[in-house]
Subunit: 342 residues, 2 copies
DNA sequence: TGGCATAATGTAAAGGATTACATCATTGTC
DNA sequence: GACAATGATGTAATCCTTTACATTATGCCA
């Protein structure tokens, strides 16, 4: 009596079978109008709600998608998540979010949700270092898709939605050389990620295009944190001759670098131009407002869901869409870059 | 044959019953050492993993806790989540994160997860405007707890882990008056939240303590976004005489305000001191580094999990701990506040 | 009117784990 | 040597839906 009502209670009250209740709730049109109203009234009367575990068990499908984020505190992922959530919600699916804290063990553990049935598919963002061997050998892997977002990972051909990072890095570096900068430094990401070399190569390519040498001395190591950007300021100021512009591989480092420069009395962009990558939320209200490359985050989230639906073989999904999709990026020019002082 | 292996497959291979397999996996010590090794070997051999749906169905418990965040892009919640996740993981529980996008309908929908069995308990952060009537009338509500974090909501007595916002606001305003400021403005939060009045009252109380009038003209409306902080800059500069200090009800607004002031040539802290609230990630690397009030976010997350365990009646939980807990906050003094120019 | 297609509903078998209860073997005690 | 207590394991019911298949009713056509 004090139990949660089940479908059987509804059936009894509506004087139909449980099968009919299930159909009334999920396949409207397969039951008569009269039955439908009786069932819905009964549901409302006793406050019935579906038991998800029973449904998942029977259907062998959870209707949930998992998004594994490397660091939930990183604002970059927020808008991607918003895009994912909107698209999934429209398709009647639930989004679960998990924070791996960049711990490979946790990432692997979350991938196991595909096996234990908590999720039908997984989106991986950031630079996962999953132990694929612990996950791959499932007979049903093909039916439990993994989609990478923003960054390739896993075996070649793993489904992906991303931008062309190398091109983005090239574009923003070209913006700096076009302003007249001849010595453009680069603060890199950590070498645990493929992004490091993609953005580094973009920087190199743009310098080559401008007929400038890619002096290895101009490459300053960073790790994507604001602190590493601040440390990079020291290295930067120690270079002779001092570069007149820096391209940081992400916005956090650019902000940390600008802050550290400010404390030393070096002005941006008057003394040094600084560009970032990603266009995180604070880039616009930072002082100076940050010149950067924007990834179309919301669109990436939506494209990732569409791709997932294709892989899940859902009706209505475009079964001819490419498995790896590269979306266009934007160059966002603001106040942290300017022509070099002469 | 191409099915996922089940507990029955394990049982057959280990030549025991399914009951014994279950015990070997979950109640070590209840089976003989020999049986345990046979079972574990069988599990490894065929790559068995538990079907969560079946377990949840049978146990009527999902071992999962849901955290509903109003805006996943807001860095404030990241560290709270880290604390929650660490504590829950240690207790063998799974954390699910959901983004309500501040949509009351979504918040209510996520609360329904308590009913449909996806989660055993829910943490609500931010300022939820849940339609409690749609959720409350469950016989089992008592067993499916909701814990508020950082901000009270719901019926009086709803379980809560928070800081004393009024006291925090008072402390930081007192810091400004102690520096010698006599005209201290306040940029408020949106009036959809109880926090607005708590922090406003703290500001008033500190001014009263310092023998200063709480001039309503010094109260500038904001909505917790950086943009509203930038707009507040206009209102601030229009005041005569111009205030020498501002306490913003959160860090985002403080940053937006400082940025807008900088664009107008007003220096912080030389011309105006600015203080924030929350100590979000960028507060430290912002230029100038932001003076603010830190909420012990990680500790709040851990305390919330402990409280949840108490409400769930878990073994080992402190069943005498208070249902509402106020944790101490920290005053973080950095570079955005200074004595007024004389 | 008979026969057949179609629509609406019911019956009962999964789906994969946990667990109350029963059974059996072993040890210890008197 | 008999009996109780303990430990290890097995049997089978249970958790709640969905869905393949069976059944019944209805309408249509010849």
């Amino acid at each position: 009596m004090n139990q949660r009502p089940t479908i059987e209670d509804v059936a009894r009250l509506a004087r139909v079978s449980t099968a009919t209740v299930s159909r009334a709730l999920h396949e409207p049109g397969k039951v008569s109008a009269d039955t439908a109203t009786r069932v819905h009234r009964a549901v409302a009367d006793i406050g019935y709600t579906l038991n998800i575990a029973a449904q998942t068990l029977r259907q062998r499908r959870s209707n949930a998608l998992l998004v594994v984020v490397p660091d939930i505190g990183n604002t970059f992922y927020g808008e991607v998540l918003a895009g994912i959530e909107a698209a999934a919600h429209a398709a009647g699916q639930t989004i679960l979010i998990a924070d791996s804290a960049q711990d490979p063990a946790r990432e692997t553990a979350y991938l196991a949700w595909l096996r234990n049935g908590r999720a039908d598919g997984v989106f991986l963002m950031g630079r996962p270092e999953v132990d694929w061997s612990a996950v791959a050998p499932l007979p049903e892997t093909g039916l439990r898709p993994v989609v990478m977002i923003s960054e390739p990972a896993g075996a070649p051909g793993t489904p992906l939605v991303s931008i062309d990072h190398q091109n983005g890095a090239m574009d923003i570096t070209a913006h700096l050389t076009a302003l007249g900068h001849r010595r453009v430094a680069h603060v890199t990401g950590p070498d645990t990620t493929g992004l490091r070399s993609l953005r580094l190569n973009g920087w190199r390519a743009a310098l080559a295009d401008a007929g400038l040498p890619a002096d290895p001395g101009l490459v300053i190591p960073g790790d994507f944190t604001a602190n590493s950007g601040a440390r990079a300021a020291e290295a930067l100021l120690a270079l002779t001759p001092r570069p007149t512009a820096v391209f940081c591989a992400n916005d956090e480092m650019a902000m940390g670098l600008i802050g550290a420069l400010a404390r030393k009395g070096v002005r941006v962009p008057q003394d040094i131009s600084v560009a970032g990558f990603d266009d995180i939320q604070f880039a616009a209200c930072f002082v100076p407002a940050l010149t950067t490359v924007r990834q179309p985050r919301r669109a990436m989230g939506q494209a990732a869901v569409a791709l997932m639906h294709r892989l899940l073989g859902r009706d209505g999904a475009d079964q001819t869409a490419p498995i790896q999709q590269i979306l266009p990026h934007d160059l966002v020019l603001r106040d942290s870059t300017a022509a070099p002082a002469r």
